[in-house]
Amino acid sequence: MLQMIIANTLADGFVVFLTDDNSWTNDIAAGALAATDEQAEKLLAIAQKAEQSNLVIDPYLIPVELEGDVRKPTEYREYIRATGPTVPIPS
């Protein structure tokens, strides 16, 4: 099972993913993928440090699957969280 770290940034609150170089991105395609539980635990430890440093809030692991090259969180709550509201933003 593939996993990623999801969180909110402190300053703007938007959803972010932990990257391979220990930074944070709004783009799920640019986030780090953990293929094993061991890798996932490592990512979580890095994310928790970032939480202690007040960069992000409430980081946790989510399971994802690949559809072609596209990462898709397997739980629909996390899918909506990662991709935004399923209804258009009013304009």
């Binding site: 909110n8 402190l10 300053a11 703007d12 609150g13 938007f14 959803v15 939480e51 440093s53 007040n54 809030i57 409430d58 739980e75 629909y76 709550r77 909506i80 969280r81 935004g84 509201p85 399923t86 209804v87 933003i89 009013p90 304009s91």
Partner: protein, 551 residues
């Protein structure tokens, strides 16, 4: 409208500066999230599914045109250009950034608005009848008492850390448009045998995972005793309400567990100690507050039924809008206009900044510069000359704000659901939009007539599903969205909780189920019966059979 005095002004501006420093300390890493969270919640700032969410109070739903313009400004400057009006007559911004919140609050303070007590375990915004002051059936203007309650409950030191949140609603009319029986305290104005106006006091109503219709603990309370009696109720709750379990901490659980008679006894015992204290409301003070709600400078008009009838006869769409969205006004020649925020284009209760600005202009032009928000997530222009209805309708239609569906099948209450909310289990908005889409044929909609559909995305029931004539509750069933149905709920003076139909339906069958329920009603209704009347006459069996087949 009420205008802030020096105390209100000082309190709000000092709070903005206090929060600015708190936010700066959080951003600088001097406060942890655990330390900061209660501070931000005291100012209405949540962290939701995608982002921070800022909730701003609209006291008893009353807004000036100037305030509406400032809400538009905040939406445009600090958010994504829209806002969401809630069932508590407030507004929420879904994409506000922490670093911008102090500036947004400072801008709102300029027009006497804030998020204080819009979250947390305290007394929240007191809600009321959107037709306050203009309804034909009204005894007295409930806003006067809402404002008195606002002043008493704002930063009330004894009630800043209640067991759980606390909501009060007031109606001055026998036809309850404020759902007072579904609040922690509901106040219903009526006359006693001597002909004096006072309050029936209803306690322990509420929705959520354990819904109750409130119980009357006092048939009639003199207005001069309003605050001492409220204080006695809050004090009993503050002492005796449970704090060990968040889901059993609302006053409704206490009232249910000890019983209404015992609860009344405890309140009366407390009240005896304080009823003649400084909490007694002098008549002069009631009159002073009342003066803020003096009627606007109405023109001397007559009810112009002939002109309106000819305009309606000449324009079917205008006629449909007047039928559904315009209500009688107590002053001759005037009308109450409901502005539907349930168009096909936007989620229920959502409004763009451009619409907010435009509607503020319309309020200035046609309704003495005032607007109201109601608990069904629509707006009201309360004082429109009947002769202006056609011109106003044309302008509203150009803004996509003239959907003729107030009280109809597509006038749906929906919580933000899983599209926005961190607590939700399922989405609400797409179900509301799909129902709206399916009921676009206005002949069919008008044939169905008055029906309320309320949708919640979890059992916390922000979408009032328990009291919808048709209630829809989204649940997570093994990782999929399912929707359970209740029938027969109502939030008016004859309030009732809906009955569960049976097992839920997957998301792609939920709107078919709505149609099945409504088609069953159309088949079995008697002449003149609303959906709710039919349900109360025949009960669940025919609906159950239609939904699930013969047992």
């Amino acid at each position: 409208m009420y205008r802030y005095d020096e105390f209100d002004n000082r309190l709000v501006t000092e709070r903005v500066e206090q929060f600015r420093r708190q936010a700066e300390r959080r951003l600088a890493g001097e406060l942890t999230e655990d330390q900061f969270k209660p501070l931000r919640l005291m100012n209405g700032l949540y962290l939701q599914l995608h982002a921070y969410m800022l909730r701003i109070n609209v006291p008893y739903g009353a807004l000036s045109a100037q305030q509406m313009r400032q809400l538009a400004h905040v939406a445009r400057t600090y958010d994504k250009g829209y806002g969401h009006f809630t069932t508590r007559q407030n507004i929420q911004y879904n994409w506000i950034q922490l670093k911008d919140v102090p500036d947004a609050l400072a801008d709102l303070a300029e027009v006497e608005m804030h998020g204080i007590q819009s979250s947390g375990n305290c007394i929240r915004n007191t809600t009321s009848d959107q037709y306050a002051g203009v309804a034909k059936d009204e005894l007295e203007d409930p806003r006067v008492y809402c404002e008195i309650i606002r002043q008493w409950s704002t930063l009330h030191p004894e009630f800043s850390f209640l067991p759980r949140k606390f909501k009060i609603a007031v109606t001055g009319a026998p036809n309850d448009r404020a759902a007072v029986k579904l609040h922690d305290i509901g106040l219903r104005m009526h006359r006693n045998e001597a002909g004096e106006a006072g309050f029936e006091v209803i306690v322990g109503g509420g929705q959520g995972r354990t819904p109750f219709v409130g119980k009357t603990i006092r048939e009639w309370l003199a207005p001069e005793n309003l605050l001492s009696y409220l204080e006695a109720i809050l004090r009993v709750y503050n002492f005796d309400g449970r704090r060990d379990n968040k889901y059993k901490a609302r006053i409704k659980i206490l009232v249910h567990q000890v019983g209404a008679d015992e609860f009344r006894r405890r309140v009366d015992e407390e009240w005896e100690q304080i009823k003649d204290s400084a909490l007694k409301l002098p008549q002069e003070e009631i009159e002073r507050i009342n003066s803020y709600f003096a009627p606007p400078d109405y023109a001397q008009l007559e009810d112009n039924t002939e002109l309106l009838a000819s305009q309606r006869a000449a324009n079917g769409e205008f006629d449909a809008w007047v039928s559904a969205n315009v209500a009688d006004h107590k002053v001759p020649g005037y009308a109450i206009v409901n502005i539907s925020l349930k168009s096909l284009r936007l989620p229920p209760g959502d409004m763009t900044a451009a619409q907010m600005d435009a509607v503020a202009d319309l309020a200035d032009e046609y309704s003495f510069g005032e607007l109201r928000v109601n608990h069904r997530q629509n707006l009201v222009l309360a004082d429109v000359p009947q002769g202006d209805l056609l011109a106003l309708w044309e302008k509203l239609a150009a803004l996509d704000l003239a959907t003729p569906n107030i009280g109809r099948v597509s006038d749906i209450i929906a919580c933000p659901g899983l599209d926005y909310c961190a607590l939700a289990n399922a989405r609400s908005i797409p179900i509301a939009q799909e129902i709206n889409q399916r009921y676009q044929d206005m002949d069919r909609v008008n044939d169905i007539g008055d029906v309320t559909i309320n949708i919640s995305g979890c059992m916390n029931a922000c979408g009032h599903h328990h009291v919808g004539h048709i209630g829809i509750l989204g649940v997570d069933k093994r990782g999929k969205e399912f929707y359970q149905f209740t029938l027969g709920g109502s939030s008016d003076q004859n309030a009732s909780l809906g009955d569960r139909t049976g097992p839920g339906f997957p998301g792609d069958e939920a709107v078919d189920a709505v149609e099945t329920i409504l088609n069953t009603y159309l088949k079995i209704r008697n002449e003149g019966e609303r959906f709710l009347d039919t349900y109360r006459r025949v009960g669940m069996p025919p609906f159950k059979e239609a939904l699930y087949g013969a047992s």
